[in-house]
């Protein structure tokens, strides 16, 4: 009797959460992205040789850089926001406003980064 | 074969009354509480204002005053021994709730806070007294939560989402109930020594009501079918200010803060009906006034609603005209912010449901069916009595809105219902457990659930010519129009005709849903059957009582008639016919006199 709990990834993403939910998802993506990257990076440079070289090429790729910079910047800025609100729960009612502030910092910074990365990539 | 469970005491209903009964019964007997809703969904949770007790936390107050106010409020139809009992128990009852952890609001000294409420007065000065203990504007919610939590703590057995369909009588004693488990559609027989009904009221027989969808009078209808009487069914309270069409309650507090009622012509009309207290007259008086205006064509746009105006400028204008003063003697004025601060919930309701901001706009309101004064007759221990000599039916108890003790008589005072729940719920529970200790088990017949089964089968096998939803709509409409605030012989006769016709048509209903799991259509149809039964009895009792008293106002008999009608109605309904008898009112200290506020 009964249907399963009905929460596939697709259903979950269809839920109309707002800023905070997306911040949570992207924070997770960012954290995971960095953790994976750093692990591979350390292992690769430890092993060195061809394998290391291959990964080094990946890092040089601008698309990868756009991604990893997103992970770092977003995770770091959003993480600061989380930390502040968590240490002072009285501020949590303003969580949505906090995300606006955070965006005001993150978006220009990230756009600038992307611009630099892409123009460096194009400019050689 | 249905599943059989055995408990000493079965409580039907998990509102304030049912939970209190369950809590107390479980201390002395193996008890189960059966409810068609999850307990926290019961309508007790909707109560806002407060629970009355003469705690005297702000100013002097006495249970005797509370008793007198209640007697007067009941238009002298309440049984005074029971009222005195309730008002004396009130203090202990409220303190007990506090000891259970209920988060009452507090006075600056840390005591339970109290607020004034309609009809509660200092008997010496006649001024309002602060008697309603409250937890913000969700006192009922907090009572419901606290009692449920205490039941969990004390490991009371719950059968949630089991709807009771039938009551079992063996050898003239209560022997249990039959219920359907909503999640599976299975019938369960609950074998018990004692049964407590706490199923709430039946406001859903009216079109516009503040009551929940589940207020379909199940308990009362089940007992009626088993040949037991119901008491004072003609008395139903209409609250003057419900949101137009929706019936959602707007508390008296709005008028307390200076809000006024305005008709379709833009006139303030209450001074015509209650020259001294005007908009703050008692509930029955204001409801009647609104309805009179509407009938005279003074509703807004010719429709059946009027305005409740709580805009600061209106409040200030009329306060000045009335010469209303602050306690310090300065003229009474109010600002928009103050209105917002004092009535946050009402403003929320208006914004959500009407898109109206009461600070800048008027609220469309109309009287709304609110509270069932009548019900299953009981004595003050919650024992169901079945005749004018108060003969007790062994093993059967009732408490809460479905019961009629009678402490509310012809008109209930605000905040007395929550008190009724905890006081009589407790005593019903205690009595039932005590009874169960000494009583023998009655043997159940093999086909105990046959009655319930055939009732459901009838709905599954009807000809299908009729739609249950249509019947519901028509019943509510005719009951609200003709057996509502104003009643007269012609209208009520027509209503009785109509309800009988609807009952005929109801026989042809067939539910489309043939499933077992959560067949809500089937159960809604069964509830409609109950409502039709109750509606007929209400209409007939109302037609029978040839006077006006409290919530029962006859245009053709506008005066109270103590000589002929100072008595309770008992109504039986067998073989499609209603039989009415009477029971004397218990009068101890207070002789009836004219009711002026």
């Amino acid at each position: 009797m009964g249907l399963t709990r009905n929460v596939s990834l697709a259903t979950a993403l269809r839920y109309k959460g707002q800023g905070p939910m997306w911040a949570y998802i992207l924070h997770r993506v960012g954290g995971l992205g960095m953790a994976t990257f750093i692990t591979i990076h350390i292992l690769a440079s430890f092993i060195g040789g061809n394998v290391g070289g291959f990964f080094n090429d990946v890092y040089q790729n601008w698309a990868f850089q756009v991604f990893i910079f997103f992970c770092v910047l977003f995770h770091a800025i959003n993480g600061l926001r989380i930390t502040i609100l968590d240490l002072f729960p009285k501020l949590i009612p303003h969580l949505r406003e906090a995300i606006w502030v955070e965006m005001a910092v993150f978006v220009p910074l990230y756009l600038l980064t992307v611009y630099v990365i892409v123009s460096t990539a194009l400019g050689g | 074969m249905a599943k059989v469970h055995q408990f000493d005491v079965i409580v039907v209903g998990a509102g304030g009354a049912g939970l209190m009964a369950g809590l107390y019964a479980s201390r002395g007997a193996k008890t189960a509480v059966i409810s068609k809703l999850y307990p926290t969904r019961s309508h007790t949770g909707a109560a806002q204002g407060g629970i009355s007790a003469a705690l005297g936390n702000y100013e002097e107050d006495k249970p005797e005053w509370h008793t007198y106010d209640t007697v007067k409020g009941s238009d002298y139809l309440g049984d005074q021994d029971a009222i005195e009992f309730m008002c004396n128990e009130a203090i202990e009852a409220v303190l007990e709730l506090e000891h259970m952890g209920l988060p009452f609001d507090r006075t600056p000294q840390g005591k339970i806070s109290q607020r004034p409420f309609g009809g509660h007065t200092n008997n010496e000065t006649g001024k309002p007294v602060r008697r309603a203990a409250h937890a913000a504007d969700r006192t009922g919610h907090m009572i419901l939560q606290t009692l449920y939590q205490q039941c969990l703590k004390n490991k009371v057995n719950f059968f949630d989402e089991y709807q009771v369909l039938d009551f079992l009588i063996v050898n003239g004693r209560a022997a249990g109930v039959v219920a359907i488990e909503l999640a599976t559609g299975e019938l369960h027989t609950f074998h018990a020594k004692a049964v407590i009904f706490a199923t709430g009221g039946h406001g859903r027989i009216f079109e516009v009501t503040s009551n929940a969808y589940v207020y379909t009078g199940d308990g009362a209808a089940i007992l009626l079918r088993h040949g037991l009487p119901l008491e004072d069914m003609e008395f139903f309270q209409f609250h003057p200010t419900g949101i137009y069409k929706l019936g959602i309650l707007i508390t008296e507090g709005v008028r307390g803060e200076g809000g006024v009622l305005i008709n379709g012509k833009g006139e303030r009309f209450m001074p015509k009906y209650a020259p001294t207290v005007k908009d703050l007259a008692s509930r029955d008086v204001v409801s009647r006034a609104i309805y009179t205006e509407i009938r005279a064509g003074n509703g807004v746009d010719g429709k059946n609603y009027v305005w409740l105006d709580a805009r600061p400028e209106t409040i200030n204008k009329f306060a000045a005209l009335d010469g209303r003063l602050n306690p310090d003697g300065t003229p009474y004025t109010i600002t928009g912010e103050q209105v917002l601060q004092k009535l946050p919930d009402i403003i929320d309701f208006c914004r959500v449901y009407l898109g109206v901001d009461p600070i800048t706009q008027m609220m469309p309101i109309q009287p709304t069916a609110h509270y069932t004064m009548g019900g299953i007759p009981t004595n003050k221990f919650g024992e169901v009595v079945i005749d004018d000599r108060n003969t007790v039916f062994p093993g059967l108890y009732a408490a809460g809105e479905c019961a009629c003790v009678s402490v509310h008589g012809a008109n209930r005072l605000g905040t007395n219902s929550l008190l009724d729940l905890v006081v009589f719920g407790k005593h019903a529970g205690l009595k039932a457990a005590e009874y169960a200790k000494n009583a023998d088990w009655q043997n159940l017949p093999g086909d105990a659930d046959a009655g319930a089964r055939s009732a459901l089968d009838a709905l599954r096998n009807g000809s299908g010519k009729e739609n249950a939803f249509d019947i519901t709509v028509e019943m509510k409409k005719v009951m609200f129009e003709d057996v509502g605030i104003y009643r007269n012989e012609k209208g009520m006769r027509a209503a009785i005709e109509k309800v009988r016709e609807l009952k005929e048509r109801f026989k042809h209903v067939r539910v489309a849903d043939t499933g077992r799991i959560f067949n809500t259509e089937l159960l809604n149809a069964w509830e409609l059957g109950n409502m039709l039964e109750i509606a007929e009895v209400v209409a007939e009792c109302a037609l029978n009582r040839q006077e006006s008293r409290g919530g029962h106002s006859r245009e053709d008999f506008p005066e109270r008639d103590d000589e002929n009608w100072l008595k309770h109605t008992l109504a039986w309904h067998t073989g499609g016919k209603t039989r009415v008898e009477y029971k004397p009112v218990t009068i101890t200290k207070y002789q009836p006199k004219k009711r002026v506020y």
Binding site: V7, A12 | G45, R106, A136, R138, I248, A468
Partner: protein
Amino acid sequence: MKVTIKIFRYNPEQDKKFHYETYVVENAHETDRVLDLLEHVKGYNDGTLSFRRSCAHGVCGSDAMRINGHNMLACKTLVRDIGDQITVEPIMGLKVVKDLIVDMEPFFDNYKKVLPWFISDAPTPADGRERLQSPEQRARFDESTKCILCAACTTSCPSFWASDDYLGPAAFVAAHRFVFDSRDQAASERLEIVAETNGLARCHTAFNCTMACPREIQITQAIGELKMATVTGRVE
């Protein structure tokens, strides 16, 4: 006005899989509640449509459902506020039993885990009167007394979607109600329960709960206060 309402349907006795059914309600009014539309569809289009409801004005917690993708109470959501194209689905993360009805047991089980009842060994005042509590102490936990256990919060939480072992915001609100009540003495037992692996640490402040709560309780803040209480031990 004309309203098109698309409803999630699932009949366990016939269907293997759910599907959607679309109904058109011709004479809808913009002040109609979604609950009114559902009643209309049930009354005239298809009686088998099943959903829970009781109070019809947002105080009993029966009818939390996903309306246009967001958890709300059907009785507190008006056509006026969401437009004439409406999609109604059951709340997520609890097993669908039939149509819009889900199995609430895991939700209530989680609630019961946090000892949601008043606990105090202190004797009641000798005169039988109330325990004293200042208005400020009372205000401390006022928000969390508003909960109607509708489950809109818990079933909007990504952590709960991931696995229903997660205690969930509603249970935290219940714990908060007692932990910060100056009269209650079981704060440490409750904190130990809410701090377990499936408890507080699995709240990642996704905030969906707070935004779904029809009682407008600051749930995430309450959870935050519980978290800090476990860390600092302060339960005032």
